[in-house]
């Protein structure tokens, strides 16, 4: 078992698990890397390579036993225990993320929202997640065993918030705020930059436009 697994691989593991859940629900017993590959739009050898990082999970001549591989992946991804999640920032995005069904489905426990605006503190999201004062983060994080923070605050407060999160002892951060954040080495930071995603698409459109009209 190699000691460093790339993020590209872990992302795909999550995709494999999602499809295995679907197969499991349908009562399918085994699945080959070929079938998995066709469904997910990746190469079969890549799936075998990804899975082989964690042992010999398949059966030669047969494929992968759906129930076993599903259990294995859940364990590899750490989804067999319920992880506590805090959402920082009770703006539009934070509230939407707090109620996002995809987070609850695979064993995450959305414990609370946090904000610094006193007018928001004390109320709840539509789905019933309570909004607390950001100053209570550390206490609640310890009490509720929160290990993941999702940051959805404006760019201006992002740095300060990350600091608060790290000081509260949280070691995994999913960041939706724009801008580069720095965290200590023991903290894992993953950023989803919505503006970057959209501008990247814009680049594609700009290129296509230039490509179709050739010197007229």
């Amino acid at each position: 078992m190699p000691d460093q697994i790339s993020e590209l691989t872990t992302n795909r593991l999550s995709l494999y698990l999602r499809y295995l859940n679907e197969l499991y629900g349908k009562g399918v017993r085994t699945v080959s890397s070929k079938v998995l590959a066709e469904q997910l739009g990746v190469h079969a050898a890549l799936i075998r390579r990804d899975l082989s990082n964690f042992g010999e999970l398949g059966v030669r001549g047969v494929g992968y036993v759906v129930e076993d591989l599903r259990r294995e992946l859940r364990s590899i991804l750490g989804l067999d225990r319920k992880l506590g999640v805090a959402i920082i920032g009770a703006g539009n995005l934070g509230l939407a993320l707090a109620d996002y069904p995809g987070f609850r489905r695979e064993g995450f426990r959305i414990v609370a929202l946090f904000d610094n605006l006193q007018t928001k503190v004390g109320s709840v999201s539509r789905g019933g997640v309570a909004i607390h004062d950001i100053r209570d983060l550390e206490e609640i994080a310890r009490r509720e065993a929160i290990t993941i923070a999702v940051i959805a605050v404006p760019e201006a407060s992002a740095r300060e918030v990350v600091q608060t999160v790290v000081e509260a002892g949280i070691t995994a951060v999913l960041n939706f705020s724009p801008g580069a954040l720095r965290v200590p080495p023991h903290v894992k930071l993953k950023s989803v930059d919505l503006t970057v995603s959209l501008e990247s698409l814009s680049f594609y459109l700009a290129r296509e436009a230039g490509r179709s009209q050739n010197g007229d």
Copy 2:
């Protein structure tokens, strides 16, 4: 100028532009790849390589002229014209995205939300973006020159919605729904999978946990 630019590069171009905007606001005249690199946490040579794809944008011995590079990047990313964006799905996430300030800032025009639920059609988001019937997408897309669709619908309807979007003549799609989507080759699809992002973090936590407690 190479004819294929990787998505890794275009994502970084967007980050460079964001920081250049900041420098421009502060009145800074020039910046070196070294300074840029330190701020953004990437290697200086990578920045030079990225930019060199689009010509000789810098000045040897000096660095890059902030105003010029900023203008150049805006043009490269196609942000010098205002692109029309439609958000499909007026749930929590769609509504949050419609009002997301980061989208408006860099020259995108959020034209409308679309949903199939008649109870939502006719109302507006908090920020004032109107919700239309998804059946009117094609007509409105043509009239308002919408070139980008942001998909924020439940997994079950995602496939159908992509089809509708493609038929409406939209050629760039930013997808927030889980699951693999297939689009024709002339359409650019970029997916942000929130569940995958969170599960990837969970993997990191599972690994760390196993690492600290060694056989006790």
